[in-house]
């Protein structure tokens, strides 16, 4: 595949992620902050997000598995996950966290467990999508091409 084709494929793939709600405008902001002096900025921030999220999801699983669930603690973890997903533009994860927090407030254990499943699902989906996106970018760079910047107007 030649570079032009790869670039078109990347643009189409990125567009689909926005259309399907996996990513929002904040992700574009991250891309705009990347330049020659910080060429890996997006990958670095997203990697931090992956590490942070996996730890939080483990903590949440444990916290909800307790005989007496500490809902304040659960809420604190979800708040953190909501914040970090919002900061990188992982919209569906963020929205799942918002729903989750409402049930924490209600101290509804069953609903919280369902929310946790939902958040996990959204997280693994967006992780997969972003890893694919980064792979496509790497292929372009390896072939000597440059990464096309997305326009805000999509």
């Amino acid at each position: 595949m030649e570079v032009g084709q790869m670039q078109r494929r990347l643009v189409d793939y990125t567009k689909s992620l926005f259309m399907e709600g996996f990513l929002d405008g904040q992700f574009l902001q991250l891309q705009q902050l990347q330049d020659e002096s910080n060429p890996d900025f997006v990958v670095e921030v997203v990697s931090l997000f992956f590490d942070d999220s996996e730890k939080l999801l483990n903590d949440l699983t444990m916290a909800l598995d307790q005989p007496n669930v500490d809902f304040k603690k659960v809420d604190a973890h979800v708040h953190q996950l909501k914040g970090s997903s919002s900061s990188i533009g992982a919209q569906r994860v963020k929205n799942a966290c918002i729903a989750f927090r409402n049930f924490c407030e209600e101290q509804n254990i069953e609903a919280c467990l369902r929310c946790l499943q939902q958040v996990k699902q959204e997280y693994y989906l967006v992780k997969n999508k972003l890893e694919t996106l980064f792979r496509l970018e790497q292929q372009i760079v390896a072939a000597g091409g440059s990464i096309p910047l997305m326009e805000m107007g999509l």
Partner: protein
């Protein structure tokens, strides 16, 4: 303007989230600010030289970082603006704001609060208690652009204080020529 080349503005960023620290640092550096990022309010106070419940600074500040109205102690480093997250364990951003505004040495440093939660009573309380701006997270480049006027105001205030100090001195030395000299010093 007839000013000499300015040093970069130095912003102290405070956030317990590593991701948000990385983000705000990048946003600020993109705007050509010098950045120090810490993960708590207490570390921020430590960095400024404000320890514990009383104010004490170290004994050897550089001349450039001595604050003008100082009698007790000096700033360890020059900080031109503090931007802090609201929700942090231990000391919240609001607590930090109160500490800064309650300090004779640091009360004039502009403070900006960031929060992921849009709670009007929270926002109003911060603004009423001295915060210059309140940004909703995720913070954007357009938000960071709003910092410049606050930084410029701080710098021109410093310069005004320098000018009036000089003027005061000249009134003692050459009372007849004060007005002329002041006009020559006038910065447009």
């Amino acid at each position: 303007m007839g000013m000499a080349t300015e040093a970069q503005f130095h912003v102290l960023a405070v956030d317990d989230s590593l991701i948000d620290r990385k983000l705000i640092e990048r946003l600020l550096k993109t705007s050509s600010y010098h950045v120090t990022a810490v993960d708590s309010g207490s570390k921020a106070l430590e960095f400024l030289g404000l320890n514990g419940s009383h104010e004490d600074g170290q004994r050897n500040p550089s001349p450039a970082s001595v604050s003008l109205d100082e009698d007790q102690h000096q700033q360890d480093v020059e900080v031109n603006l503090i931007i802090t997250d609201y929700c942090m364990p231990g000391m919240t951003g609001y607590d930090l704001l109160r500490r800064i505004k309650g300090s004779s040495s640091f009360k004039d440093i502009p403070v900006v609060i960031m929060s992921s939660e849009n709670i009007p009573s929270r926002i109003n309380r911060c603004l009423e208690d001295g915060a210059e701006e309140f940004f909703l997270k995720p913070v954007q480049l357009s938000d960071v652009n709003k910092l410049r006027p606050h930084l410029m105001k701080g710098r021109s205030k410093e310069m005004q204080q320098n000018i009036s100090k000089r003027k005061g001195m000249e009134e003692i030395l050459t009372p007849d020529r004060t007005r002329t000299r002041y006009n020559e010093l006038e910065v447009v």
